[in-house]
């Protein structure tokens, strides 16, 4: 296998994120199996469903660029969903909830960042533990039952369209463009790239490595909060299970998009298509009658496949 992958053409091809190939393959599959589903309205609905994932991916790719990982998104989404749906803040309006969500994401992201950047604790352990603590807390507060309803405005906003494109999708594209600009045009973006490339060299070149890692995680927490707001708008009710599998899907989409620990070949649009792949994948699987266990297996195979694709590449001289 390694010999085949060392081939010149294959080497050229491997500079393109896997997500583009997978996207084309899934699109072709869908076109063969259900050509009538490929219209803007239906696809708009499916793509709208994965906007929370797509937004979470943006945070994930930032931390994965600095050789870290954030699995706390599930806990953050659950906590913010609880804040909005539990009715603990009677009479609070949309601006209040948005500020509350952003503050929550900021604090949790900062905590993750300090633990990982300053205390140098394994990022997987920290973010998983934070997620478990938050999930346990929310489930305790709501005693295992879904909390109440979400203010109507959230769902109304979620259902709007702009030029026949659902607003959440548009919002996702804009946010992706913003993160793309942040990574390519700012000093912070350069710092992130250099820390991911080689943290030691970055340190000796005067890059504040610790601060970059802390900031990357804070940003990821903030982005997870935005994802939580969109997710809450989409389901329109309180839930004690919502979004728990999103962080892992976000990791999968990011790797599929050509961003693996410290390496950012896929940029921001690679992972963007990675998230789109999952939208299509769920449609294709539903069309083909594959149920939940099959989806779990597909997720695992995709993560491992994409990681092997990149792992082998690192080895070839």
């Amino acid at each position: 296998m390694a010999a085949v992958l060392a081939n010149r053409i294959a080497r050229r091809l491997r500079h393109i994120p896997p997500s583009y190939f997978v996207f084309i393959v899934l699109l072709a599959t869908l076109w063969i199996a259900r050509p009538n589903m490929l219209n803007l309205n239906i696809m708009g609905i499916f793509i709208r469903q994965i906007v929370p994932l797509g937004i979470l991916v943006l945070g994930q790719l930032v931390v994965m660029r600095v050789k870290s990982i954030d699995l706390s998104g599930g806990g953050i989404i659950l906590l913010i969903n609880y804040f909005i749906s539990s009715g603990s803040f009677p009479g609070a309006g949309l601006p209040f909830f948005i500020m509350l969500a952003l503050a929550t994401g900021l604090v949790i992201g900062l905590f993750n960042g300090l633990m990982i950047g300053n205390r140098r604790v394994s990022a997987v352990i920290v973010t998983l533990a934070v997620s478990i603590i938050l999930v346990g807390l929310v489930q305790f507060l709501s005693s295992g039952n879904p909390p109440g309803d979400v203010p109507r405005l959230f769902n109304d906003l979620y259902n709007t369209k702009f030029l026949s494109v659902p607003t959440p999708v548009l919002f996702w594209i804009l946010l992706t463009a913003a993160v793309s600009l942040l990574l390519s045009r700012t000093v912070f973006g350069r710092y992130i790239a250099s820390v991911g490339e080689n943290a030691e060299a970055a340190h000796f070149s005067g890059v504040p490595v610790q601060r970059t890692v802390v900031l990357a995680h804070t940003l990821a927490g903030l982005i997870a909060a935005i994802a939580a707001l969109v997710q809450t708008g989409s389901i329109a009710v309180g839930s004690v299970r919502v979004g728990l599998d999103l962080p892992i899907l976000a990791v999968a989409a990011t790797i599929l998009g050509g961003v693996v620990f410290g390496r950012g070949d896929g940029g921001v649009w690679g992972p963007f298509f990675g998230a789109l792949c999952f939208a299509l994948l769920f449609v294709v699987m539903t069309v083909l009658g594959v149920d939940e266990p099959g989806k779990l297996i597909a997720q695992g195979v995709i993560i491992l496949g994409a990681a092997i694709f990149y792992g082998v590449r690192v080895r070839t001289p």
């Binding site: 920290v126 890692v213 266990p293």
Partner: protein, 320 residues
């Protein structure tokens, strides 16, 4: 061989890590429970405690082996669920039990090969296999049910001379692991490979003639097989197959390992520390159950302990 009490308690200058402190914690919790509740210090509750702690002890020992080489196995929880689901397939035990271990070894082999041959990070590898195995388990058994072979049930629920079988399970597993870690060349290699990885010189052990790739693969196979042993034990306890029984088990195991003074960066750790760590976890669960603490809060507390013990370990590497 001179070692002061302070050195044991602080885990300084040793390859075994900080294991004296958790032992102290375990003793303190036991003491507190004995004073607080009358039910704790009864033979029945203590034997119950051993039976409750056993799966975690077994899984944690397996986890210790991969942690020693600087790895991590997040797929053990799924392997446990798969084992119970397989055992409830309504086939003779003579077929099922070998099949369970072959499958577990295969999962370990896939983990090890992806990590060593394809250079995929252990966490990403085992996270993916966790999902794949969970999917297979849910296909085999969407909800809990079925019956486990008689022999498996009998092997965990009987007693010999007043001592329940789980105690013998524990002694056997610990003896096997002791032989593997401290009584074999392979155990020495594990510490050597892990020490090299922890200090940033990944090829240190290789330079001394240790074929680290093969040994790393073997570590993941052994870890998976230990998880399968825990699965067989649990299947005997719950009498049926359950696709969710192993959920979050990998985190409990990692917590137990870290609690026992083992450094997650590899090379430093001990078997007795891990067993003590698992016992502390079981004692806490036992105590919280006796005190009627909500299961959700128990989960949150476990997460907090994980965060605290891992946060106290210092390491060089940043990130994953």
């Amino acid at each position: 061989m001179h070692r002061s009490l302070f050195n044991i308690l602080s885990g300084r200058n040793t390859r075994q890590g900080l294991w004296g402190l958790p032992l102290l914690v375990a003793l303190l919790i036991s003491l507190w429970l004995t004073v607080q509740t009358t039910q704790f210090a009864t033979a029945e509750n203590l034997f119950n405690l051993v039976a409750q702690a056993m799966p975690l002890i077994i899984v944690a020992i397996g986890q210790l082996i991969v942690v020693l080489i600087g790895g991590l196995d997040l797929s053990v929880g799924s392997v446990i669920s798969l084992t119970t689901a397989m055992l409830a397939l309504d086939q003779p035990a003579i077929v099922l039990i070998p099949a369970v271990f072959v499958l577990a070894a295969l999962i370990g082999l896939i983990n090890g090969l992806a990590i060593t041959r394809f250079n995929v990070h252990p966490i990403i590898t085992t996270l993916s296999t966790q999902y794949i195995v969970l999917g297979i388990t849910r296909i085999l058994r969407p909800v809990s049910g079925g019956t486990v072979p008689e022999i498996v049930i009998n092997s965990v629920s009987g007693s010999l001379l007043g001592v329940p079988y789980p105690v013998f399970w524990g002694i056997t597993v610990i003896l096997v692991a002791w032989k593997l870690l401290y009584g074999s060349r392979y155990g020495l290699y594990l510490f050597a490979i892990g020490g090299g990885i922890a200090s940033g010189a990944e090829s240190a052990a290789r330079n001394f003639g240790v074929s680290d790739r093969r040994d790393i693969v073997l570590a993941y196979v052994v870890c998976s097989c230990f998880a399968a042993v825990a699965g067989v034990f649990l299947a005997g306890r719950i009498v049926s197959g359950d696709p969710n029984v192993g959920l979050l088990f990998e985190l409990d195991a990692i917590t137990a390992v870290a609690l026992g003074g083992t450094q997650l960066s590899g090379g430093i750790g001990s078997l007795h520390g891990t067993v003590i760590g698992a016992l502390v976890m079981a004692l806490l669960a036992n105590g919280m159950n006796l005190a009627n603490v909500s299961p959700f809060i128990q989960t949150a507390i476990k997460g907090g302990i994980l965060l605290a013990v891992v946060g106290l370990q210092s390491r060089k590497k940043m990130g994953l």
